[in-house]
């Protein structure tokens, strides 16, 4: 049975009629066209599908779309504002903190959630916060440095 579900997606009111048991990941990708959020393992182990829901990083492959009803979702496409990249996006480019790029949206979104909670994390706190996001290419140290740089810039801007 299809249902009408409403939520805020990247700041915009969104309404769609769909199978409420479909995972948020496949709805975002296939019905709404937000393909920056990736499928990696399907059971929440890798973090490629991470989105922010009410500012909390959530594995969208594990959540039925009905679970997001009435909430605010941010995907990688929603981080840039008015054509300006988010400080994390800029820092990932500056530190060359990616290779194949497939885990990158999940890394940046997880880091965004981390910085919302803790605007000035220590290196160890970044490691702890990112530990469950997997990168196979081995960009880890550069990702840590990019998050440190972004944290500095974000504090400076406020």
């Amino acid at each position: 049975m299809e249902e009408t579900i409403r939520f805020k997606l990247n700041g915009k009111k969104t309404e769609l009629t769909t199978d409420p048991d479909q995972t948020l990941l496949w709805v975002l990708r296939n019905q709404l066209g937000f393909t920056g959020t990736k499928f990696g393992c399907g059971i929440g182990f890798c973090g490629a599908c991470t989105v922010l829901i009410n500012n909390e990083p959530v594995r969208s492959c594990m959540m039925p779309v009905s679970g997001a009803a009435g909430k605010s979702i941010v995907t990688i496409e929603g981080l840039a504002k008015n054509g300006n990249l988010h400080p994390l996006q800029k820092a990932f480019i500056e530190h060359d903190a990616l290779q194949c790029g497939y885990c990158t949206p999940g890394m940046i979104i997880t880091a965004a959630g981390l910085l919302k909670k803790n605007p000035s994390p220590t290196r160890q706190q970044i490691i702890d916060g990112m530990e469950d996001n997997l990168c196979r290419c081995g960009a880890h140290n550069r990702i840590i440095e990019a998050i440190q740089t972004a944290a500095k810039e974000m504090k400076g801007g406020k």
Partner: protein, 707 residues
């Protein structure tokens, strides 16, 4: 896209027609590509046609066509650097067109760290030819001889009258010049490089941090459906019966069947995940009686084809000259590639032609696979490779692309196949497990006198002796499939195919000998090395690391290893901390120096070294595919642990300046020494020696008990 002629690849004339005006440089790939390396199943009837390499468009854009693909290794950046340098154009004027079987020259696949060392020089030769054509055109336009012209940022300038100038784009305007490349690539004067040798960041980074970069699974076509395919529970199992009625009952799901090939399709991805579980299937089993625990003995006893890879001197003489003889056996397991993007493909027919967008390291291999399995003529199959989310050798296989094409034919709709993580583990072409047995000897002075090396079932890449040994033999034992199977499932290349294992065995054995001789491990190696390149790597890395001499075990936890891979030489030093209470080993820092000849993009190459070291920690500490016969027991990242943030040490990498030499491989070499260096460091810290990878906590504790 239409093709009018029936030869492999797009015909030259239709290609030019399609692309519009400009200057084209074609080449005959068979004259310069090394076909001897081509596996038999990928051999093609050779085309007499030419494929495009370069197009200079009327707006001055330079397009570079390559059958290579981008999977994170950064060639989208480094190939553009080479092109920009040869043609004297701005880097941003170079556009890369990659992995499209209709547009790009045939390529056997992106692996073996071959892009820069093998494709690169040919591409540069084509660019040099294009530049000569442009100078000729400019010469007649500007009315001065070519020798009086120079090119700056895509503008040809009369050196005697700088006002007299013309841009490449203007020269290409209204032109349809086709040039055919017959020249051999010649080494370039590196002092004239503008882009090569300088660090550039990933040119695709912005696309990747914004989510705009398109991977195969991100594409969408009208009417597209998702598919899941019924899989056997283990390798070797054969379907005896299947009841699909449960799946058929699910609304919006269609069951597709073609013999033993059974799939469910739906517009809703979650519905196919649900439906596939509702199929009741029975199988007959034909499993090999081997598992990950019995594998080593199984291999040593198995029938095999024996070949002597290399011999020098006489092992018997070497044994007589030896004061001490060391005999040890090393082994390693099957390893999964575990790229974060699963194998994915979208296939769609337009008329009788199929186009497949696939995450693959071998677009032309996939094209051949579809030709073979669907019986289509080659010109009716086009493969396009978008960004690939990691490969490491695992996407040299392309089964998912054939499946998508097959389902598109059966359903008449565009079909998206996104393998689950479970399917990727099951069908992965694993790094082959192997065993290495070494008998080595040295004289009283610590000179190696004998090296008798035997490698079982995992291949000889990196099995060279490396050291200066008068009596040495390398013997390889490989699967004799006519007699019996050894590997219960598919195997294939995995970042530096088997060099990890060979380097682990060789460098551990060397360390054992150094310790027995009471000589510092670096001093022992230098004493037995003649290779100038390796000695230079050692000197560099020792300085970077701040190495001080001590015989092992010194208690410091420092381990070293060296090796060669893909034409590149490297040496590595690591420092570890061992918790003897629970077997946990932490790598504190790593230093690595490599000699890779001309380094086109030092930034990209450095990142590849770092990536190799990080990935190497996986095969060193945790990665091991557990199996029972044909049943793969590890099917996701919960039990198959790959490196995480907390594992990654401080890493210092050095690339030696070899601008005047031919470029060598960069995507794989630095992974080969990680296991060996860590193993030697554990010995240096504790006196415990590990002979089997990975070094799990249990195995470290076990080794500690044996001291």
């Amino acid at each position: 896209m239409k093709k009018t002629e029936s030869n492999p690849g797009m015909k030259r004339r239709s290609f030019v027609k399609l692309m519009g005006g400009g200057i084209f440089i074609f080449f005959q790939p068979w004259s310069i590509l090394d076909l001897s390396a081509l596996p038999a199943d990928q051999a093609r009837s050779l085309s007499k046609d030419y494929n495009a390499f370069i197009r200079i468009a009327e707006d001055g854009t330079v397009s570079c066509f390559t059958g290579k693909i981008e999977m994170g290794q950064g060639i989208i950046t480094s190939l553009a650097q080479m092109m920009a340098d040869e043609l004297n154009v701005l880097l941003e004027k170079v556009k890369m067109v990659m992995g499209d079987t209709d547009l790009c020259p045939y390529d056997q696949g992106t692996w073996g760290s071959l892009t820069t060392r093998s494709f690169g020089p040919n591409m540069r030769a084509a660019a040099a030819e294009a530049r000569a054509v442009l100078l000729e055109l400019a010469s007649s336009k500007l009315g001065v001889p070519p020798s009086q012209l120079e090119v700056k940022e895509g503008i040809v300038v009369d050196t005697k009258n700088p006002q007299n100038a013309i841009a490449y784009g203007q020269l290409a305007k209204g032109q349809k010049i086709e040039k055919f490349l017959d020249v051999k690539p010649s080494p370039e004067d590196h002092t004239k490089f503008t882009y090569m040798g300088k660090p550039y960041k990933h040119s695709d980074a912005k696309l990747k941090v914004t989510g705009e970069a398109k991977y195969a699974g991100d594409l969408k076509l009208p009417g597209m459906i998702f598919a899941r395919i019924l899989r056997p529970p283990s390798h070797g199992a054969k379907l005896s019966s299947a009841d699909v009625s449960g799946a058929e009952k699910i609304e919006g799901v269609q069951v597709v069947r073609d013999g033993d090939f059974i799939a469910v399709v739906s517009e809703n991805r979650n519905k196919v995940d649900e439906a596939i579980l509702k199929i009741k299937a029975d199988y007959t089993f034909d499993e090999l009686k081997v598992n990950d625990r019995t594998l080593k003995d199984w291999m040593l006893k198995a029938d095999s084809r024996v070949s002597i890879a290399k011999t020098e001197g006489d092992i018997a003489v070497g044994r007589q000259q030896s004061d001490k003889v060391f005999e040890h056996t090393y082994n390693d397991p099957y390893l999964a590639h575990a790229a974060i993007e699963t194998h994915t493909a979208l296939a769609a027919f337009e008329g009788d032609k199929v186009t497949v967008w696939a995450s693959t390291q071998s677009p032309f291999g996939l094209q051949d696979g579809i030709v073979r399995e669907l019986g289509l003529p080659r010109e009716k199959v086009r493969v396009i490779t978008p960004f690939v989310g990691g490969g490491f050798g695992g996407k040299a296989a392309y089964q998912q692309g054939v499946e998508a094409a097959r389902l598109a034919k059966l359903t008449g709709k565009p079909v998206m196949v996104v393998w689950t993580r479970d399917e990727v583990f099951f069908y992965d072409t694993f790094h082959p497990a192997g065993v290495v047995r070494i008998a080595s000897g040295m004289d009283k002075s610590g000179r190696i006198t004998m090296w008798d090396y035997h490698v079982y079932f995992s291949g000889t890449r990196g099995a060279e002796t490396t050291y200066d040994v008068p009596n040495a033999t390398t013997t390889s034992y490989s699967e004799n499939t006519k007699v019996s199977r050894v590997h219960p499932f598919g195997t294939g290349p995995w970042r530096a195919p088997n060099n990890n294992m060979n380097t682990f065995a060789r460098e551990s054995q060397i360390d054992i000998m150094a310790s027995a001789a009471g000589i510092d491990p670096l001093e022992f190696r230098l004493k037995n090395l003649k290779d100038e390149k390796m000695i230079a790597c050692w000197k560099s890395v020792a300085e970077k690391f701040g190495y001080s001499s001590a015989k092992a075990p010194s208690g410091r936890g420092i381990g070293i290893a060296c090796g060669t891979d893909a034409g590149t030489w490297l040496a590595m030093m690591v420092e570890v901390k061992v918790d003897t209470s629970n077997g946990k080993v932490t790598v504190l820092r790593v230093a690595c120096t490599q000699d890779m000849g001309l380094c086109v993009n030092p930034q990209g190459a450095l990142i590849q070294m770092e990536g190799c070291i990080a990935m190497g920690l996986g095969y060193t500490f945790t990665e091991e595919v557990r199996f029972e016969g044909g049943n793969i027991l590890d099917r996701n990242y919960d039990t198959y642990q790959i490196p995480r943030f907390s594992w990654i040490p401080k890493t210092d990498c050095v690339i030696l300046d070899r601008m005047d030499q031919a470029p060598q491989g960069g995507g794989e070499p630095a992974i080969i020494t990680v296991g060996a260096a860590v193993g030697n460091a554990i010995f240096d810290a504790t006196g415990a020696r590990l002979f089997r990878m990975p070094f799990t906590r249990e195995r470290v504790l076990e080794a500690l008990k044996k001291i």
